[in-house]
């Protein structure tokens, strides 16, 4: 256990040392020391502000993540299973993939107002095409031999979906989920900065206006920690359980 986590610990110590060393040569206002950031973190935590904003951001991440994953999976399956639908709408996906996140966010705010729904919609729409493309490739990779078996044994559509397509897609879904989590929380911050009155993104925007770099780093690191905890505590364990059958 220790041997396996040792390189990670070493890398973290090295990063802290480099940071502390660089902070010694730069003005404190531009690059505060790790201890100054820790102090800012403690202060924000003690006042309760940190938790309030983390919770707001995490809530948006969760809702838009679930939306993007479920809709993206449905779209990806449709495109992957039907060449006709893929020829018709595959191009839309390409356009969405290349649409800058900022454009989607601004348009959503203009069309739907500065609302929570618009914010979550904009984030989900940014992630949806990535999920759809991954799932589309996954659906295409399904072994037709298994489908033939299901046809001969007269499985219903639902049973084929539930016991053939979805289990086959599990590794693809986890790949999409992991890259999705990382992408979504970054976009949520932009959404909060542009049109919300709470959340880590909103708070960073305020701190930017008063040039509080320690505060900016404190909030960023806190949320990175949250996302890492979700990744290692939930996603990795869940995935390991789902692919036990690999033997």
């Amino acid at each position: 256990m220790l041997n396996r986590s040792l390189p990670g610990i070493l890398a973290a110590v090295l990063a802290l040392a480099l940071w502390a060393g660089a902070a010694g040569h730069w003005p404190q206002a531009h690059l505060p020391t790790p201890l100054a950031v820790l102090a800012a973190l403690e202060k924000a935590a003690a006042s309760g502000e940190l938790w309030r904003h983390l919770a707001a951001t995490l809530g948006r991440v969760v809702v838009s993540f679930v939306l993007a994953m479920s809709l993206g999976t449905a779209v990806g399956c449709l495109l992957g299973r039907s060449p006709l639908i893929n020829r018709l709408f595959g191009g839309w996906l390409l356009v969405l993939l290349n649409l800058p996140a900022l454009v989607v966010i601004i348009l959503a705010y203009i069309w739907f107002g500065l609302t929570e729904a618009a914010a979550v919609f904009a984030v989900a729409l940014n992630k949806l095409p990535h999920v759809a493309v991954t799932v589309r490739e996954g659906s295409r990779a399904l072994d037709p031999a298994l489908e033939e078996m299901a046809i001969v044994f007269q499985w219903s559509r639902w049973r084929r979906l539930r016991h053939i397509l979805l289990p086959h897609l599990v590794p693809y879904l986890f790949a999409a989920a992991r890259s999705g989590l990382a992408l979504i929380w970054k976009i949520v911050l932009v959404v909060e900065m542009l049109g919300r009155s709470n959340g880590v993104g909103f708070q960073i925007h305020l701190l930017f206006q008063v040039f509080d770099v320690a505060g900016i780093l404190a909030y960023s690191l806190a949320f990175i920690a949250v996302i890492q905890a979700v990744e290692w505590g939930v996603l990795r364990r869940w995935e390991a359980r789902c692919v036990r059958w690999r033997g």
């Binding site: 078996m149 046809i151 001969v152 044994f153 053939i164 059958w245 690999r246």
Partner: protein, 193 residues
């Protein structure tokens, strides 16, 4: 009609430009056991796939009673990688339920291996599970595509004995493609391709 069995006429079957079968007729009466033999590439598997309804892209006619329950053992086991042997059988919703599944897995020699995933089984075990899946459904027509190939002699003979006793207990139509002379003792008639 061939007495409630399989009535197949293939005028022509091509893969692209390659002609596989021409003017081929097959009539299997209900309850009859027929083996297709012949060198590889003559279209044995193609005939089986057409009978099973997996390949409808041919010139000709296939008549099979709608009520006939068809099961098949493919050349490869085709078990679901993410389901155990027991789950794979249960998912087909066999008439006898969980009890029949347990009994059938025992009959093919997989007692104790019911909860293994295909990746944890040898190819021979997977093939036996595939045979169990086809038999537990109590088919009216069982299609075997080289089902006993690559099993060791003893196991292959045990599987043949099981098939024989299952057919004695509850007669069903059998259509098999085979290379092995040992399989021919199972059938009433041999069709050379």
């Amino acid at each position: 009609m061939c007495g409630g069995g399989v009535d197949l006429t293939i005028e022509r079957k091509q893969f692209g430009d390659r002609l596989i079968l021409q003017r081929f007729a097959l009539c299997v009466r209900a309850g009859e056991a027929v083996a297709l033999t012949g060198p590889s590439g003559r279209g044995k598997s193609t005939v089986l796939r057409i009978v099973a309804g997996l390949d409808r892209d041919f010139h000709g006619q296939r008549q099979l009673d709608q009520a006939v329950r068809v099961t098949m053992v493919f050349q490869e086991p085709r078990l679901l990688p993410w389901r155990t042997a027991r789950q794979s059988l249960l998912l087909c919703q066999p008439p006898g339920g969980a009890e029949a599944v347990a009994a059938m897995l025992q009959a093919v020699g997989l007692a104790g291996a019911e909860d293994l995933y295909p990746a944890q089984m040898s190819l021979g075990m997977q093939r036996r599970a595939a045979l169990a899946r086809a038999l537990v459904m109590q088919p009216d027509l069982l299609i075997l595509d080289e089902a006993f190939a690559s099993l060791d002699q003893t196991t292959a003979e045990a599987m043949r004995a099981l098939l024989r006793s299952e057919r004695q207990r509850r007669p069903f139509t059998l259509l098999m493609a085979t290379h092995s002379p040992d399989d021919l003792a199972l059938v009433d008639r041999v069709v050379a391709l």
